[in-house]
Amino acid sequence: MALGDFSSRLSFPRKRESGPSAVTGSLDPRLRGDGSIGASLAGAEPALAVQDLRKAYGAHTAVDGVSFTIRAGECFGLLGPNGAGKTTTLRLSLGLVAPDSGTIRLAGHRVPEEAREARRHVGVVPQLDNLDPDFTVTENLFVYGRYFGLSKREIGARIPDLLAFAGLAGRADARIQALSGGMKRRLTLARALVNDPQILFMDEPTTGLDPQARHLIWERLRQLTAQGKTILLTTHFMEEAERLCERLVILDRGRLIAEGSPRDLIQTHIDPHVVEVHGEGVAEWAERHARRLCRRVERTGETVFCYDQDVAPLLADLASRAALRYLHRPADLEDVFLKLTGRELRD
């Protein structure tokens, strides 16, 4: 019967031997170790260059004159509060939406005109899991690889490495429902790598994961950049951006409001010392003393943030106040982010 013929051609390997699960397994032997390919890519054409990008939905301008360039081989962060235009920028860059104006070059191709060709060199880890729930782990990789025109043999050859990379070597035949959130996320990452892309788009890759799962993802992303892959990462975890990104931009209300390395941004935009103070009478203390002892004081609810080059006088004052508790720490990217985008809620 005709149907039977279709079926047999589609058959997946039901049992796949799970080989030695090298947890630190490099994805592609050609790229292992010395990072030479990453180095050779550095001088090449930018992975992604967007110029004066604009996109409006009715009266709302989602992306308003954004320009940035991602060098091949770097991990680049796209930060911003909810509604800043991050996801729209990603969709524009992938050619899923056409901009009202501006130019995009992705992997050497004009987008959206040559988006299809450009996407052959890109892997995407979306914000919301969209693995195929009816398939096993391996089937998800096979089916996704076919969308790139890869043959069963090509995909099959990559699967052991992909599973090892994702820490799923023993779960080749597991159903998606049986995976934890972290495993699903790692499988989504493996799926994004099935076409051996030059560039990875990662839209909030660790949202909703526990710290263990998050650290594992970070570890994997570092391995990928070490292998020469370019990563575009959106996140609102500043710690994540600070750890992973060589350079980043901050978007707010569709506009690009800051650009640089995490260290540069901290040095440029904020004093190096932060003292967080809370406790009974903190509001009054802030008005009467903090503003006198410290260059910049901010209040959010019951906590006062004090920023300065030198906080010794402030700390001396605090030492004498038993009712106030405080934390002295170096300024970080989150301080920059909150300074630039404000502390009010974005919904």
Partner: protein
Amino acid sequence: MNTRAATLFRAPALSLRFYPVWRRNLLVWRKLAAPSMLGNLADPMIYMLGLGYGLGRLLPEIDGMPYITFLAAGTVCFSTMNSATFETLYSAFSRMHVQRTWDAILNAPLTLDDVVAAELAWAASKSMLSGLAIMIVVWALGLSTTPLSVAALLVVPLIGLTFGALGLAITAVSPSYDFFMYYFTLVITPMAMLSGVFFPLEQLPAGFQVAAWCLPLSHAVALVRPLLLGNVPAGIGLHVLVLAAYAAIGFYAALVLFRRRLLS
């Protein structure tokens, strides 16, 4: 904006890249084949046999044939229509909206046009299966013994394409599963009553008969019923043209509406 309208209304860009998506759907279907087959086939079969033999005993011959024979052609068309409709409403909506399967596919080097074409091809494939299964029963029961009845299997995929395309256009504007009830209640069920599936069109008042000939299902039945009796249908060209026109217009409308929903 002008460029936006041009993007929405541009001609369909069809390519063979829809094939991996079609294969994906086939692979899922294979895993769930048994319950899916049962749902698709048992229902129309029970109606055909129950009404055909039960009610049929009470009825005189219709157009010179027993009622069950009359009903067989209607059931082939009806179940083909239902199969394509269910697939493009509920299943496609799940893939598009609930599972976000389409989002994943669109990040690969495929376009929305490829995905919609794949859904249509898949719906036609599934309805082919339904139509074929009913035909096997029809042959097994000796309800049609003419070699010309094999030609009904050429009409079946056309019915699948027609109702698949119309269903996709509905899915493109649907906010939730509940919305599909309107389509069934206001379109599919009345169409089944008006299209000569269960009784001859001539039973209807004249005004309804005119309306009936505007509906695609009437033209499907007008092709399949004579074929099961061994006659070449009168006005083949017109019937095929109406079905093809519904398919083409439905598909283009679906594309524009999906583009508006997903790509802007």
